[in-house]
Symmetry: C2
Subunit: 492 residues, 2 copies
């Protein structure tokens, strides 16, 4: 017989009736396999003696278990653990065998036909060149795991499991403010910062608060296509301003502002997406003047500010005079790598109060686990160390790729070495149509997952991004060699 | 002198010019502090001998470093590490000392005035009762940390750092499909499942695809207020259908459907939020008939299906015949606890293609780290073990709280013990206005962070949710005792 006296602990001060406590604990013993099907239970008298309880209490517990099919009361054998234990078997209703999800639904919905689907590279590609993403092999994984362990310490886990803030955990907002004030010449408090799942959510939330259907929104041409898609989904009418070697042409911009009621503007002053151009000081100052003169809301997308290779990087526009009109957006994903998702919006307090409300209905709030991990990495300096280390390596890779492309593809491709970031913008000569070059490259095992401008009205650009940050020299050599062969096979 | 021969490694096969390799490595030595400011470098001849390179190569490297201010070429001393090392000091422009973020912006935006802000409980509350959240102290933290370690294994991290899918990592979708088919009587494939950041994002995405401004949307009365807020933000006109002890009144619903062009319906058949009512079989069958007869899109929010205490739980409506019209939404957050955020949408393939496109512009994609962790926990059975263990404990806590409230607050509060979930719905008698009771309770250190219906038109409900899952018996006793004292002080 089991040592029931040791296994069953009755708390007579508890508000749970004693017979219920006993029944629960017997069920646990059955579920844990300590009481196997067919096992005879002690008689009510024996168990009452053993546990120092009244026999009627044991009886009540046994009866509960009989009712719930955990035990049987068999003639001559007494109470025995049931051979047909109750299994949690849900009740089904009105169900046929074929899933209702196999066909089409009969209600109407928006099929988002104007939007494209992003796809992963095909499995089996020999070499994948991305849009410009960090190299995850440089991550301080032990330091990161230490932060996860820290979060899962019970005291911490319990403390952070209250409802949570739509604008991010207070710890991460403090850490990020301090990090951003130090690195970007800002002077913000936590009321100026809202943590999002990534830069894209930051763009979507900010734009949703500003854009009403029909509003005119200025973007560069070309510009980050997923941001454009978000603005158009919100009903914006896009006005495209050309971009040259000094960034967006603010002279053209001024002419547009004179003749149009423009609601919002989207700019990427550092290593512009896709062209990698960094905006000049003169243009920056001109842009700041226009922003305040015309009361335009500006989303400044500064997704990879942390990666600048020269010794005198520009501060963001957000650190200048803009009367609170710049909504500054950044990304931690671009620092840690794509497996992590975290971004932020910096704006006036009143704007962020509205942003937090909108975030609540879109997403409730963020994941405090990753928020605390990143907060820890900022506070102990690991994030900054990682940025410095990565920056040095990316600068070397950028130089290496630039030299390689000059020597291997110099007669096919034009490009300007960027002052930072993680990608080159390769402009192929018109004799080498990119769609054809890349299709041939695919056949040789090279897949470019980054932005490619080669079809329809984009054919005049005939350009693509080539992310160098996550490739080693051998991989870059192989990729460029495949591009060379693909182009040659068209040229000949 | 430093052992340059050992410290500097030149790869003559590299495509990076040798002088550049040398310059980079000297910069690294300076940055690492191995070459301190003022240190004299070896002469070009000495270093050329030491490294077996041409003297002109050394010269080219030194000249680069001089140009970039890392070293000086001093008369009589030769090349010396600079005393004024280039610091990454960003160029500032047009900046005043006061942050532009301290004031107001001058552009127009939607202040979301009709939405409420959710707030965390005040720091220092002695006891916090939530809306019904899991107990994080029951989590298998070692098993979870093991999954994180697994993700940070280099091979895995590299593999999962490609662009990523807007509908979730393929691994998690496979694991979740199998888990949901087993537990919910579904028969879905990965094309029927999209992973979101949480149930709220699932609701927002699904509703955004369906609702156009002015559309009629049916909700229960009362219903989950954050879902209502999302529908209203999207322009829905809400039609409220009463809820009784058997769930939403489908007879009333049918009358409404006969006379209105209804676009969508939002239902919570298991442990309804806020009332904890579980819908009866008759009502479920009636609802399924109405859905197909009227071609209504239905969001079935089944946020805590996994926690049912009886031995014959109901399957979700989604497992019945609905012609693909039910969009089924669930939450992993309700299993693991609020520090984690993960949810999903189950629908027809065509609906999810649109959902993935919308998700791209809202959020790009999820965080593969947590997606892989949860996938691992499903595959090795830890998630299911955790659910079974939690379910047993929550059932005990539910019984305990129900007994406690009957004995302590029986003359003040009405409630029906729910068949699952993590909260009781306490209906206070009208003589005890909840706003007053809770204000007094606050003063005694008790804060309820869950749904409270006590103001304006909700005053007739005079009810609140009392989450029991994350409280131990002592905490429940203290909370109920404070409620008792608060009510008594009003009654007297």
């Amino acid at each position: 017989m089991l040592p029931y006296k040791n296994l069953i602990i009755i708390d007579k001060k508890s508000n749970v009736a004693v017979y219920k406590q006993l029944a629960f604990q017997l069920i646990s013993l059955i579920q844990e396999g300590k009481l196997l099907p067919g096992t005879e239970l002690p008689s009510t008298r024996m168990l009452a003696d053993d546990l120092q309880l009244h026999r009627k209490t044991i009886m009540a517990a046994y009866n509960t278990l009989v009712t719930e099919d955990w035990i049987d009361n068999l003639p001559r054998k007494g109470y025995t653990v049931s051979l047909r234990l109750p299994v949690v078997k849900p009740r089904s209703y009105n169900t046929n065998r074929l899933s209702s999800y196999k066909g089409s639904s009969s209600f109407r919905f928006d099929r988002m036909e104007t939007l494209i689907s992003l796809a992963n590279p095909p499995v089996g590609a020999r070499i994948v060149v991305n849009d410009g993403f960090p190299d995850v092999s440089l991550l301080p994984t032990e330091a990161i795991l230490k932060e996860y362990r820290n979060v899962f310490d019970y005291t911490n886990l319990n403390r952070i499991s209250t409802f949570g803030d739509a604008d991010g955990s207070i710890e991460l907002r403090r850490s990020l403010c301090s990090f951003l004030n130090q690195t970007r010449g800002l002077d913000i408090g936590i009321e100026n910062l809202l943590v999002t799942r990534g830069a894209q959510m930051a763009i979507y939330i900010a734009a949703s608060l500003i854009i009403r259907p029909g509003d005119k929104v200025i973007v560069s041409e070309p510009s980050y296509f997923i941001a454009n898609a978000a603005f158009e989904k919100l009903g914006a009418q896009l006005i495209r301003v050309p971009i040259d070697d000094e960034g967006m042409c603010t002279e053209t911009l001024e002419e547009i502002l004179k003749h149009n009621d423009v609601k919002m503007m989207y700019v990427i002053p550092h290593h512009h997406q896709p062209t990698t151009v960094t905006m000049s000081v003169d243009r920056r100052n001109h842009l700041l003047q226009l922003i305040t003169a015309y009361n335009i809301a500006v989303i400044e997308d500064d997704y990879d500010y942390d990666f600048q290779f020269q010794y005198d990087p520009y501060l963001p526009l957000a650190s200048g005079d803009h009367g609170g009109n710049i909504i500054y957006i950044g990304s931690v994903t671009k620092v840690l790598g794509t497996p992590f998702r975290l971004g932020y919006i910096i704006a006036t307090k009143e704007f962020l109060i509205a942003a937090a409300k909108l975030r609540t209905i879109i997403d409730l709030r963020g994941e405090v686990v990753i928020e605390h991990v990143v907060s820890g990495l900022i506070d102990n300096g690991e994030l900054m160390r990682h940025i410095k280390k990565s920056n040095r390596i990316y600068a070397q890779r950028c130089d290496f790729l630039a030299d390689l492309i000059t020597s291997e593809l110099g007669n096919i491709v034009n490009f300007t070495k960027p002052s930072g970031g993680m990608a080159l913008w390769l402009k192929f000569k018109q004799e080498y149509p990119l769609s054809r070059v890349l299709s041939k490259a695919n056949n040789m095992g090279l897949v470019l997952t980054g932005s490619v401008y080669s079809k329809g009205k984009d054919a005049r650009l005939n350009a693509c991004r080539f992310g160098f940050a996550s490739l080693n020299e051998e991989e870059m050599k192989e990729a460029v060699s495949i591009l060379r062969k693909s182009a040659d096979s068209i040229g000949n």
